[in-house]
């Protein structure tokens, strides 16, 4: 393999990994507060659709991104309201969100083009790649890591910031407490329900941005079901990452690498039929899950929030 080939592989790896990592970080913060949000796929789809539509009509990529983030917050707020306030089942509510987002995004995709037509095939302002002076000079890593779009660079800064927040600050400690033992957190005066709302909505923001990255940077266009299961892969990555931001980055790069390999093989004109190449990420997700979750005790040792998925009702205190 030549150096340019390695650089191109690594570049696609990072590019494909960015949206996955945004979504995974969003789900990590949501789950850390004890809320399981299975609506990632739907939120990402809505983020991708609204970002593209707004960018197309306003001619501003940034406005598109902002709206995608807001839509993510709004949708996850619905989930928070249903599960935290109305005590609805978190699994069913998340699934409802995904089905709803899938329907609404494909509806919008067919209506939000010029004059109520389809958005498929349109071109909108996108986030283009640009290289960072000096850093791009690092051999191999420079041109692959520092020749990316702005959302990737923001992510490079956001990742350590989120890790620091989670492990080294008091609000981060409170967040972990709410997810592990809401009753004890409540006794200590932490507002359980408010935290759950806050971090679910924050997570939704990141998921919306993840969708925007797909339609405005990585794939640069709108197609029905553009996410192709990436939202679900993000949920699997949370388990892979054992709820840790840095390990999530490793996982996102791993899956980005699978994507890059897929492209590479397709471009090289392989004998393997396209559907089989497209199966790779899903197949790999199952494999990863099998190797990671080896028994409940192992999962607990890995650091799953102990109260994940359980609603918190003060009167039901045991």
């Amino acid at each position: 393999m030549t150096e340019t080939m390695i650089i191109s592989l690594l570049t696609i790896t990072v590019r494909a990994g960015v949206s996955l990592l945004y979504a995974t970080l969003g789900e990590i913060f949501t789950e850390r507060s004890g809320v399981l949000n299975l609506g990632v796929e739907g939120i990402m789809l809505m983020g991708a659709a609204t970002a593209f539509a707004v960018a197309y009509h306003s001619n501003s990529a940034w406005l598109g991104l902002a709206v995608a983030g807001l839509v993510g917050m709004l949708l996850s707020a619905i989930h928070a309201f249903l599960t935290v306030t109305m005590q609805a089942d978190q699994v069913v509510s998340g699934l409802a969100l995904t089905l709803f987002g899938t329907g609404l995004s494909s509806f919008m995709g067919q209506r939000l083009g010029p004059g109520g037509t389809t958005m498929v095939g349109l071109q909108a302002p996108t986030f283009q790649r640009f290289s960072i002076p000096l850093l791009e000079k690092i051999p191999i890593l420079g041109p692959s890591l520092f020749n990316q779009d702005i959302l990737a660079y923001i992510l490079y800064l956001l990742l350590p910031a989120l890790w620091f927040f989670l492990y080294k600050t008091q609000p981060g400690l409170h967040l972990r407490a709410v997810g592990d033992n809401p009753t004890a957190a409540d006794v200590l005066g932490i507002q359980v329900k408010r935290s759950r709302y806050l971090y679910t909505v924050f997570g939704g923001f990141l998921m919306g941005v993840a969708g925007a990255h797909l339609s405005m940077a990585y794939l640069q266009g709108w197609a029905m079901n553009i996410t192709g299961g990436r939202g679900w892969i993000a949920i699997a990555l949370v388990i892979f990452a054992t709820w840790d931001p840095f390990r999530a980055a490793v996982g996102a790069l791993l899956f980005g690498g699978i994507n890059a390999l897929q492209f590479r093989l397709q471009a090289a004109g392989t004998e393997i039929p396209a559907p089989f190449l497209n199966m790779m990420p899903y197949f790999f997700t199952i494999l990863v899950l099998v190797f990671i979750t080896w028994g409940e005790s192992f999962r607990k040792r890995l650091g799953a929030p102990a109260a994940l998925g359980n609603p918190y009702i003060r009167e039901d205190k045991k």
């Binding site: 619905i78 329907g103 609404l104 039929p273 899950l289």
Partner: protein
């Protein structure tokens, strides 16, 4: 002002009926506002939907046709949901059933007596769906791998397998490049009863009866319910979660596989792209709205099918994306979920001035 929930001593009977109805009305209102926002007259759109799904013999039979796969997959997932096994994989299990039934129709029917072709398709379809469901069941039972994710990932793999087959080795050589397998021979086609309504409706009715029998009249059903409602009690009662998980998923997958068989054999008469049209996902909404009750699954399926057929009509008659149906279905589920709390809780709205107890400061 704050909202406070007080647990009811008994489930509120009235809420079981009122909540779904109010939810439906609210979802329609929401859908109407959405259509309005896109510059579409909601009254006219709903009229088209009702006319297209319930107005006349053709419309009604089409609704029943779309309800058949929903009934079978809805019954399938509701059994699994009973024991809180989140089988989100009905779509993939349906696809595998369709593939296996197509295999019989395309490659085995020549060497089979005609009267055996359909029964073999049923058996192959159900077995394939069951095996596809068995994989996540084994992974969950023995390694505790999250079944939501494995069943979902297997949907994507199954859909790609269907795609591979009808675009690749099974593609009709005389199909002028049309993506799909060769048409099935006559003996591999399910007889039709009225319009396009085929024998699959009978399969669905039998399946509902069997599920009802298992759940309400048999010890096995009691075990499944106990595992779902109180896993600890089930464990002390000596009920094996592992064994039941595997058996329930075999049953669940077999029903979805049968749905796939009925689709290829009763509707398309070939393996084609439209096989995986999202029935397996709508089935989740169906089973939840039906409170996992098999008879209710049949009715809710008809209702959801009417929405789908109505949505298709919107596309044909007014050029409005058929996805409206999916949005409405999702919205109904949202409202039902929000309303469910009223069944188990009494909701009291308290003015802040009344909330003086120390314990309430942090709510």
């Amino acid at each position: 002002m704050k909202i406070k929930f007080e647990r009811r001593l008994k489930e509120a009977k009235w809420a079981v009926f009122v909540v779904p109805i109010v939810s439906f009305i609210l979802a329609l209102g929401f859908g109407g506002l959405l259509l309005l926002a896109f510059g579409i007259n909601p009254v006219k759109a709903f009229q088209v939907m009702i006319q297209g799904s319930l107005g006349g013999r053709y419309a009604i039979t089409e609704t029943v046709v779309k309800a058949i796969p929903l009934m079978l997959t809805g019954l399938g997932v509701s059994v699994a949901f009973r024991m809180l096994f989140w089988n989100i994989g009905a779509e993939g299990q349906l696809a595998l059933g369709g593939i296996a039934a197509s295999y019989v129709a395309l490659f085995l029917s020549d060497s089979l007596p005609n009267f055996l072709t359909l029964p073999m398709m049923v058996i192959f379809g159900m077995a394939a769906g069951a095996i596809w469901a068995l994989i996540p069941a084994l992974l969950k039972a023995y390694l505790n791998v999250n079944e939501i994710l494995t069943t979902l990932m297997m949907n994507y793999i199954a859909i790609l397998m269907v795609e591979y087959l009808y675009l690749g080795p099974w593609r009709d050589p005389d199909g002028y490049g049309f993506p799909g397998s060769a048409p099935f021979p006559d003996e591999a086609i399910l007889p039709r009863l009225i319009g396009r309504v085929h024998l699959g409706i009978v399969f669905a009715l039998i399946a509902a009866f069997i599920i009802w029998l298992i759940m309400s009249r048999m010890r096995w059903g009691y075990e499944i319910r106990l595992i779902g409602e109180n896993p600890r009690a089930a464990k002390y009662a000596g009920i094996s979660t592992t064994k039941n998980m595997i058996l329930v998923m075999l049953l669940s997958g077999a029903l979805s596989g049968l749905a796939g068989m009925a689709e290829v054999s009763g509707i398309a008469h070939r393996l084609y792209q439209g096989l995986t049209a999202g029935y397996g996902y709508t089935a989740i909404i169906v089973s939840w709205l039906a409170s996992l009750n098999p008879w209710a699954v049949l009715f809710v399926s008809l209702f959801m099918a009417a929405l789908t057929v109505g949505g298709d009509q919107l596309q044909v008659a007014m050029g409005i994306p058929a996805a409206v149906a999916l949005v409405l279905q999702g919205a109904i589920l949202f409202f039902v979920l929000g309303g469910w709390v009223f069944i188990n809780y009494r909701v009291r709205i308290i003015r802040t001035t009344e909330a003086t107890q120390v314990g309430e400061l942090h709510d």
